[in-house]
């Protein structure tokens, strides 16, 4: 079965208490926002970090993605706050 690595960064990782997890790939047609709703269920009280999806940003296989994008055949989904480098 294909797996999906999920990576968390910055306050998303801090509030979840973990910086990565691996799940069974939910399918190419699954949208990022659908998966985020599932993740919120699976993290108990910490799932509140996913509640406001507008505060989150995403990357599929190291490329920026939108919450309505389908996972496709990506092997890695990263979930993080808006970036603040520079």
């Amino acid at each position: 079965m294909q797996r999906l690595d999920i990576l968390y960064f910055a306050w998303v990782a801090e509030r979840l208490g973990c910086d990565s997890e691996q799940i069974a790939h939910p399918g190419a047609a699954t949208r990022i926002c659908d998966l985020v709703a599932q993740l919120a269920q699976g993290h108990g009280d910490n799932g509140a970090v996913f509640a406001d999806i507008d505060r989150l940003r995403f990357a599929l296989d190291q490329h920026m993605a939108q919450s309505a994008d389908p996972l496709g055949d990506a092997r890695e989904l990263a979930i993080f706050p808006p970036v603040t480098g520079g």
């Binding site: 990576l7 190291q62 993080f80 706050p81 808006p82 970036v83 603040t84 480098g85």
Partner: protein, 147 residues
Amino acid sequence: MSAVVVSADVLRPEAELVYLSRSGGGAIASFVGQVRGDDGVTAIRLDHYPAMTQTALHALVDQAKARWPLLAVRLVHRVGVIALGEPIVFVGTMSDHRHAALESCAFLIDRLKTDAPFWKKEFLTGGQARWVAARCGDAAAADRWSA
């Protein structure tokens, strides 16, 4: 030398300018971002997404080179803990003439702010720490470079 460096090492802007000056053009533009002391900030920590950072920064360099006639580009970003007043980022461009150098330098730092996966955490006097929020103006500054 690679156009892109992401490192925990101390950043030396003067050495970067010397490197650019050897590229033969007539105009160098540079930007240095450093740690500000707002609200008693004593240091910051830069986290990043290593597998994506290089890709994102190289993509920006490629876009700048496609848009302006550049002889050299240098994009250096520090990660890890950085003390007050120390440089965080260096953006330098070299071209034959000033407009290409100045515009491409502004493009690179504006787009780095919205496209590269870095996150700042500030450490304050008294031991508190807080994540820096993205500024509303950053997206607008990056958007002005959209074709």
